[in-house]
């Protein structure tokens, strides 16, 4: 930064006093008012930035702040503003999905994978896929369970698609909204080191729902034990992703509030998975008799009794 000395901006004082001394001379001041302040933070920024890094615990907080500041420059009514939320490549989406499937203890999903580039592609399309996966798998599983019954007439159950869509999208958008509001409110009371933006929370929730897609497909298997084991595994994986993401955000807080928050997050997740299993997938009858030749009345009574 040797050029700073060469420019010698201290001559401002001399320049401004010349009109008083010599009114006939015209002084052209090409130095804008916003240019001189930029040179002052130049030298201190290098040393102060590293201290900030250690405080925040991020390796490149300076760079990410710059990047975040550079990104959202368009006003919200232009198309380019929304394009910034889809600024991901294929391999990045795959990495994030992989991160949601393999939660590494101690590693924060947001810091590791999102890094100030939250995207809306993942949450939106994972939720869309999950909606159709649940509806189609539920339909298929009901068909397979009731296959032998004489009185069963297959229906596509199309209404369940809209119900599934409402549930999944409400969960993926309203719960992050509530959580974000809660974290902002707690932030105003207790200064937290780690705080997430709304989009980052939506991102975490969206990607954490990915594990339910293969789970929903495997729920077709009409065995109660298999289904509950799948529920446990899926809940373990996605619950741990969420818990490990939000624990650093609340751990500075009152112990009970922090624990209550994490428990509430996991509880809502449990509610979602168990509710979907109960509503979309009929219970497999344990003593299901493949009645092919029985009369319709007997079959109906037998099915009702079991």
């Amino acid at each position: 930064m040797a050029a700073v000395d060469d420019l010698q901006f201290e001559e401002f004082g001399n320049v401004t006093t010349t009109p008083a001394e010599n009114p006939d001379a015209t002084t052209i001041n090409i130095e804008g008012p916003d240019e001189s302040p930029m040179h002052q933070p130049g030298p201190p920024r290098g040393s102060g930035g590293e201290e900030d890094d250690e405080l925040l615990g991020n390796e490149d907080s300076d760079k990410t702040e710059l990047l975040a500041g550079q990104k959202k420059s368009s006003p919200f009514w232009t198309f380019e503003y929304y394009q910034t939320f889809f600024d991901v490549d294929t391999y990045q989406v795959f990495d994030r999905i992989k991160g949601s499937l393999l939660p590494i203890p101690g590693k924060n999903f947001v810091r590791l994978y999102i890094r100030s580039n939250p995207d809306l592609y993942g949450p939106f399309w994972i939720c869309a896929t999950l909606v159709f996966a649940i509806a189609i798998s539920g339909n298929l599983s009901n068909f397979l369970i009731h296959l032998g019954e004489r009185t069963y007439h297959y229906v596509p159950e199309f209404r369940k698609v809209s119900i599934a869509a409402t549930i999944i999208y409400a969960y993926a958008w309203l719960v992050p909204l509530a959580l974000w509001g809660f974290l902002v409110w707690r932030n105003s009371k207790v200064m937290n080191i780690v705080s997430y933006s709304f989009l980052e929370i939506v991102c975490v929730y969206g990607y954490s729902l990915f594990v339910y897609i293969p789970t929903a497909v495997l729920w077709i298997i009409p065995q109660k034990a298999v289904r509950w084991i799948l529920v446990m595994i899926a809940l373990g994986i996605s619950g741990s992703v969420l818990a490990m993401t939000f624990w650093p955000a609340v751990r500075e807080d009152n112990r009970r509030v922090a624990l209550a928050t994490i428990v509430a997050i996991v509880l809502l997740h449990t509610l979602l998975s168990v509710g979907c299993l109960a509503y979309f997938f009929d219970a497999p009858e344990m003593d299901h008799l493949p009645t092919v030749t029985a009369a319709p009345n007997q079959t109906f009574v037998a099915a009702k009794a079991s």
Partner: protein, 236 residues
């Protein structure tokens, strides 16, 4: 040329003369022909903006549009990398296909059971909202395809699935059973693959290369859902 400049440069010295009056004195040498035709490179079927299409008979207009739609159907059935669908997009074909498919897929109002197949409006909304969502998604990812071009391609590529629906309906007239189901499953799978291949051939080039999979996956999901609706159609 110099003569004209001189004469127009004499401002205020002589009596005022009209500007460029000396231009008529310029003689163009006879061996530089300045005649010819100016042609604008036009597309093959650009509509003229005078009233020549207004005076033609209605049959001509309809036949011209039908031929354009039919030509695009052929392009979908034999997909090659061509620009016809993109260049001269129209939404008549998608509308015809969507209405046909929705009419065939809707559950009959005779049975008013709660959980039947989709209604006409549901199929219609799924197809059009699905196409709009995919288009907006591909534009947000940075694709350089226009909104209606993408809608046009997605709508036209439903043609194989509409054919599958027709075949399924015919097959369902026969007796029901596993063989019936296998035949329908096979037809739907083949037509689903055909739709994907056709739409990918038209859409893939307009996406940025490192996001192609991100833009194509929603198309896959869209046609998968439509195929599922076709496969699970049960007549009453």
């Amino acid at each position: 040329m110099a003569k004209a400049v001189e004469s127009s440069g004499e401002l205020g010295t002589t009596s005022p003369r009209p500007l460029f009056a000396g231009l008529s004195d310029i003689s163009i040498s006879q061996d530089i022909p300045v005649e010819g035709e100016i042609t604008i490179p036009m597309r093959s079927h650009i509509r003229e903006f005078d009233s020549s299409t207004l005076n033609e008979s209605v049959q001509n207009t309809i036949m011209r549009d039908l031929k354009a739609v039919g030509k695009k159907f052929m392009h979908v059935l034999y997909p090659r990398k061509s620009n016809t669908l993109l260049r001269d997009w129209d939404l008549w074909g998608p509308l015809i296909l969507c209405v046909t498919l929705a009419l065939m897929l809707q559950r009959s109002s005779v049975d008013s059971e709660q959980d039947g197949g989709p209604q006409f409006a549901e199929v219609f909304v799924i197809i059009w909202f699905g196409a709009v969502t995919i288009t907006v998604n591909s534009k947000l990812l940075g694709g350089n395809i226009s909104f209606f071009q993408s809608l046009c391609v997605l709508g036209y590529c439903i043609l194989p699935l509409t054919v599958a629906m027709l075949v399924c309906r015919l097959v369902l007239l026969a007796e029901q059973g596993p063989i019936n189901f296998m035949v329908r499953l096979f037809v739907v799978i083949v037509m689903f693959a055909w739709s994907i291949v056709a739409s990918t051939a038209f859409l893939a080039d307009s996406q940025p290369p490192n996001r192609k999979a991100l833009a194509i996956y929603p198309v896959f999901l869209f046609y998968f859902v439509i195929s599922w609706m076709i496969l699970t159609f049960t007549p009453q």
